[in-house]
């Protein structure tokens, strides 16, 4: 059993952490789904403010950072795993910024008062953000565990060699 574990650890020296890496890419996909879903309703000029610019900018930064995390955790880099976790927390926080506010607000269009974000749309975008966050956090946890295990294994190999 111990030998099995030892080999499993040793394998990590030559194989990539594709699970964490794949989860990071999946998180990007869910983020894209969120992004293309949030502006689908016709609510006049509701979104025409500085927040929309910040949101677009954040999306670009998020996707770049998540992609870098995907490459970093693939090689068991602990720093990228922590960044991935932070991005996951950020995705959860985003639920309380745009979707929550838009869901609570109403706008008047052609003398009709309508909700900025319907219940259905709110549920969808929230699920997308939660899925994205879940992928990032799970990938980060796996990345940290594996990264630490590999570092300890390499240290023990170096110790043996010395």
């Amino acid at each position: 059993m111990n030998e099995e574990r030892e080999i499993r650890l040793d394998r990590m020296r030559y194989t990539k952490n594709t699970l964490s890496s794949g989860l990071a890419l999946l998180a990007i996909l869910f983020n894209v789904m969120f992004f293309i879903s949030i502006y689908e309703s016709d609510v006049g000029t509701y979104y025409y403010n500085i927040l929309v610019g910040a949101s677009i900018l954040y999306n670009l930064i998020f996707m770049l950072a998540a992609f870098l995390c995907s490459e970093g955790v693939k090689n068991y880099k602990l720093g990228y795993a922590w960044l991935m976790a932070a991005l996951g927390v950020g995705q959860i926080a985003r639920i309380f910024i745009y979707p929550m506010r838009a869901h609570a607000d109403v706008v008047t269009i052609q003398e009709k008062t309508v909700s900025v974000m319907s219940d259905g749309q709110f549920a969808r975008v929230t699920v997308y953000l939660l899925l994205s966050a879940a992928c990032l956090l799970a990938g980060a946890v796996v990345g940290v565990i594996r990264g630490r295990a590999l570092a300890a294994h390499i240290a023990s190999l170096d110790g043996r060699a010395a």
Partner: protein, 360 residues
């Protein structure tokens, strides 16, 4: 490992071109056989038929007694190493070596053990995380070999694996293949057009020409007792010198020169008295001193040896050209007259090209 029996194999392509004629060979377990011959002689075709990459038109192929003539390549349990390595550029060395086992869905821990063991044998342990593009040609070829080793196949097939390497690397990789064969004790078939590779690697050599097997034997047999003129000319570097001569009483009469015969040679050539035969002399069997006058036209110093080119019999014709590999350092100038002697001769029937030996 495995014993391979190749019985009366023919290969005829769809356009009715026959590439291989009646190929017969029994390969013993753990034997390293080298198929050698010029380009287009059918050696690679034969290897591909054994691998299952080409259909066998006629004949049978037996592996450990089981007929595998119609067995698909993937089920033959043979591994082939190609000239162009055929590595996956986007995968690391480790992933390349593990790939075939991963496809078979073997336990990853078992794969890991096998890959590390193969890498250790081939000296690739420190390269496992690199991509093929980061490796030298020799290292890439070792990765290709490693990919075969991890599969633990019954037969290894090598199709001109060293042709893409430079001369120095070729020598080093050749030694590695030889060590690998000794270490694994595996049955191996190796195709090359390079006779040096054949002589240094083989337990037995199969010399081919125009789809026909010319001779099967140990490297020494092919070098020392070539079955015919083709084998004699193909094996050995520089190649053998050939002269048309007539068998006379106690000597051979060439165009402007005479070669005295020993007792054994006289007996062997007795049936050819008065007839024209072909005389073959290896450059290393020519020595200074003797009766044959040679006019030098070039002198190449190789360090331990000197390669002297010239013509004999006072005639500057292609038929009278002689190359001599003399031990030591000589500085002959163009036009120098040197006396030479042949200390070992080979005789070939002018019509059939077959070697003439005593008692035949």
């Amino acid at each position: 490992m495995a014993q391979l029996n190749i019985q009366h194999i023919d290969k005829v392509y769809d356009n009715q071109v026959q590439a291989v004629f009646d190929f017969n060979l029994d390969v013993a377990d753990g034997e390293l056989i080298v198929l050698v011959g010029p380009s287009g002689c059918g050696k690679s075709t034969t290897l591909r038929m054994i691998a299952g990459l080409e259909d066998i038109t006629a004949g049978r192929l037996l592996l450990d007694g089981a007929d595998i003539t119609q067995t698909p390549a993937k089920d033959r349990d043979m591994a082939m190493v190609f000239q162009n390595y055929a590595l996956y550029g986007h995968m690391t060395v480790y992933e390349n070596m593990a790939f075939s086992l991963t496809l078979r869905k073997e336990n990853p821990n078992v794969i890991h053990k096998k890959v590390l063991a193969a890498a250790e044998i081939l000296g690739l342990t420190s390269q496992l995380n690199k991509k093929p593009a980061q490796l030298s040609g020799g290292q890439r070829q070792r990765v290709a070999m490693g990919r075969s080793i991890v599969r633990n196949p019954r037969v290894f097939l090598f199709d001109e694996p060293l042709s893409n390497l430079d001369a120095k690397l070729r020598g080093a990789t050749r030694r590695e293949i030889l060590l690998l064969h000794k270490r694994l004790g595996a049955t191996m078939l190796y195709v090359t057009h390079d006779q040096t590779e054949a002589l240094t690697l083989a337990d037995r050599i199969v010399c081919m020409s125009m789809g026909h097997v010319q001779q099967v034997g140990t490297p020494l047999e092919l070098y020392d007792s070539p079955a015919n003129r083709f084998v004699a000319g193909f094996i050995g570097l520089p190649p053998m010198n050939f002269f048309d001569v007539t068998v006379r009483e106690g000597e051979l009469e060439g165009k402007g020169f005479r070669v005295p015969l020993g007792e054994a040679e006289r007996a062997a050539l007795a049936p050819y008295a008065g007839r024209e035969i072909e005389l073959g002399v290896r450059p290393e069997n020519v020595q200074e001193g003797g009766e044959i006058g040679m006019k030098v036209f070039s002198n190449e110093n190789l360090g331990m040896n000197t390669l002297v080119h010239g013509h004999i019999g006072g005639r500057n014709t292609p038929e009278n050209k002689l190359s001599a590999k003399l031990r030591g350092w000589y500085d002959f100038k163009e036009g120098d007259e040197v006396k030479m002697a042949f200390n070992r001769c080979h005789f070939f029937d002018k019509e059939t090209g077959n070697a003439i030996r005593k008692g035949e």
